[in-house]
């Protein structure tokens, strides 16, 4: 028990909370068909995270989030600038800018000496959950002991706050975000400016990328952003249930992925632990496959209904003579 509390509880919570933050925000990307924007942002914010870490010398969230935001803004400006100067297609410009900024982040890790402390390329690839330990824990009583709880890794507390803020924002802007996601032109026509809302989504994605950085790294964060929303989308056509199911999927992804990575090797007699971030993505992939195959719209449908895709092609126009 003490070993679980000391070594596994904090990473388990961190993985779950990070996946919840990403999974909820990922809905806003998936439903507006811009999931790859999450991938792009997660790459682009890396130099910001490194600089924030380098300047502040801590992994405390505020400087890292500030750095990530600054990097996201720089990326957006660079994209606008390169597009204006080159007339390349937007996809190419985004690819150039985001991979370039990611590379810059890697270089900065080496140059600033951040890798000597806590932040190295492994962390970018896999996250650093194993760094979250709670040595003050002595048995189950520590969960109620204020002195021991004060020693609990701050990253987990920060993640809990970020999750609470995310949920609060989604609730406060519930109908506005749905409107802006479904029909931005109509939203503007009735004075509900969607631009600030899409900017807010960008900010939230940046925050989610930072939140998930220590848990899953910069690369696999895309799985945390997209997979829970995709799983939910395969299971429901309801907007509210979409968010609820994505949260459930994100929790299973985070907790289940960590659990499999930490405990399965022992059960299987492997000498070493498995990578938690990778296992989370694997768990999410398995869930997605199950949802697609066995969900209400898949080939094995319990209800026997198939989703109609009426909107893909416009209905052919009746000849005028029929009128």
């Amino acid at each position: 028990m003490t070993e679980f509390l000391q070594l596994d509880l904090a990473p388990l919570l961190a993985a779950t909370l990070a996946c919840l933050v990403c999974g909820l925000i990922g809905n806003l990307l998936l439903l507006t068909r811009q999931s790859l924007l999450g991938d792009a942002i997660s790459h682009a914010v890396l130099p910001g995270i490194v600089v924030g870490f380098w300047i502040s010398g801590t992994r405390a969230a505020p400087p890292l989030v500030a750095g990530a935001m600054a990097a996201a803004i720089v990326a957006a400006l660079l994209i606008a600038l390169v597009r204006r100067l080159t007339r390349l297609e937007p996809g190419a410009v985004m690819g150039l800018v985001f991979s370039g900024m990611f590379a810059l982040g890697i270089v900065l890790i080496e140059v600033t000496g951040a890798h000597a402390v806590d932040l190295d390329v492994d962390c970018v690839l896999y996250g650093q959950l194993e760094a979250l330990i709670w040595p003050a824990a002595q048995g189950a009583g520590s969960l109620l002991d204020p002195a021991a709880l004060a020693e609990f890794p701050a990253e987990v507390k920060t993640l809990a706050v970020v999750l609470a803020l995310t949920v609060a924002l989604l609730a406060l802007l519930w109908k506005e975000l749905r409107l802006a996601a479904f029909d931005p032109d109509f939203a503007r026509s009735i004075g509900f400016a969607p631009r600030p809302l899409s900017l807010l989504v960008l900010v939230l994605v940046s925050v989610a990328c930072v939140a998930a950085f220590w848990a899953v790294g910069s690369i696999l964060v895309i799985a945390a952003l997209v997979a829970p929303a995709a799983i939910a989308r395969a299971l429901t056509d309801s907007y509210a249930r979409q968010f609820a199911l994505s949260a459930a999927a994100a929790a299973v992804m985070g907790a289940g992925g960590y659990w499999v990575a930490a405990l399965a090797p022992e059960a299987l007699g492997l000498g070493h632990g498995l990578n938690a971030a990778g296992m989370m993505a694997v768990v999410a992939g398995v869930m997605l496959a199950g949802a697609v195959v066995f969900g209400p719209f898949g080939p094995v449908r319990p209800g026997g209904q198939r989703r109609r895709r009426a909107a893909a092609a416009p209905v052919p126009r009746l000849p005028a003579a029929a009128g």
Binding site: L173, A310, A311, L318, A320, A321
Partner: protein, 276 residues
């Protein structure tokens, strides 16, 4: 901009007939390519008006420029004599059906209820009374039984009716509709026409981008012929002439279409709607 204003100003009793929409010297360009050039037009204060012109004539862009959805190069827009920013609550927009993702997880009622958002305001959940107003708007277009259906499961015509219900829920005085009849079945087309005629009878103004030259004279009393520039505008009977249509469509109007249009225009002038 207060709540009472739109209701009080609807169907003005006296003669001060302000045009519902007035654009003056409006120009819009995409990538330095003019889409609308020096368009000036005053709509009637109420009734049904069609915007007719070939593909790429800037018809949808005109509506979007009026609403501020695309930037204007130059020109002025007045809605009931006011700048659009002060008149938003009196304007209802019906975008092209193909402009949104119908696979979106929302029900018909949730989409129709978006027409009530201006009355609800930011940050507040939709009150029950407003949801019932949205339900009533769905009933007006014959979609009451589909309120809880996901919009992707509706046919094209039903989706268009949901869009129309959302517009009705706005209770606007000026409606800007982008191809309300595009890709709908005959029953939906008749239902939409009935709704438009009722809106006009209530003293509201409906301006619709319309593609079908054959039905334009039947449905609309007023027309703006547009091809980047405003070619002609006025009452349908005197404006929708073969000569004006030829000027609007240039060489692109086929002889057959010209003949049909001329026949319909002639019929409309003499005897109103002339069905086959």
């Amino acid at each position: 901009m207060n709540d009472a204003a739109p209701a009080a100003m609807r169907s003005p009793p006296g003669p001060p007939q302000v045009p519902a929409l007035a654009v003056r010297h409006l120009s819009v360009a995409y990538h330095e390519q003019p889409v609308l050039w020096d368009v000036s037009w005053e709509s009637p204060s109420s009734g049904l008006a069609a915007i007719v012109g070939p593909n790429g004539a800037g018809k949808s862009t005109l509506l979007k420029a009026v609403l501020g959805l695309v930037p204007r190069l130059s020109g002025e827009v007045r809605v009931f004599g006011r700048p659009i920013a002060e008149a938003r609550r009196r304007v209802g927009y019906l975008p092209q059906r193909a402009s949104v993702d119908w696979d979106f997880p929302a029900t018909a009622l949730q989409v129709a209820a978006m027409g009530r958002y201006p009355r609800v305001g930011w940050f507040r959940p939709l009150p029950r009374a407003e949801r019932e107003r949205a339900r009533a708007a769905l009933a007006e277009v014959g979609m009451a039984d589909f309120a809880d259906r996901q919009i992707g499961q509706l046919s094209g015509g039903q989706q268009q009716r949901v869009f129309l219900a959302r517009a009705l829920a706005l209770e606007a005085d000026l409606y800007l509709m982008d191809e309300p009849f595009a890709g709908v079945d005959a029953a939906t087309e008749r239902a939409i026409v009935e709704v438009l005629q009722r809106l006009a009878a209530e003293g509201r103004m409906v301006i619709a981008v319309h593609h079908d030259l054959a039905t334009a004279p039947q449905y609309f009393g007023h027309v703006l012929l547009l091809n980047v520039r405003a070619i002609a505008a006025g009452p349908m009977a005197t404006t929708f002439t073969p000569e004006n249509l030829a000027r609007t469509y240039g060489g692109r109007l086929s002889l057959l279409e010209q003949a049909v249009a001329a026949a319909r225009a002639g019929g409309a002038r003499v005897a109103g709607p002339a069905g086959p």
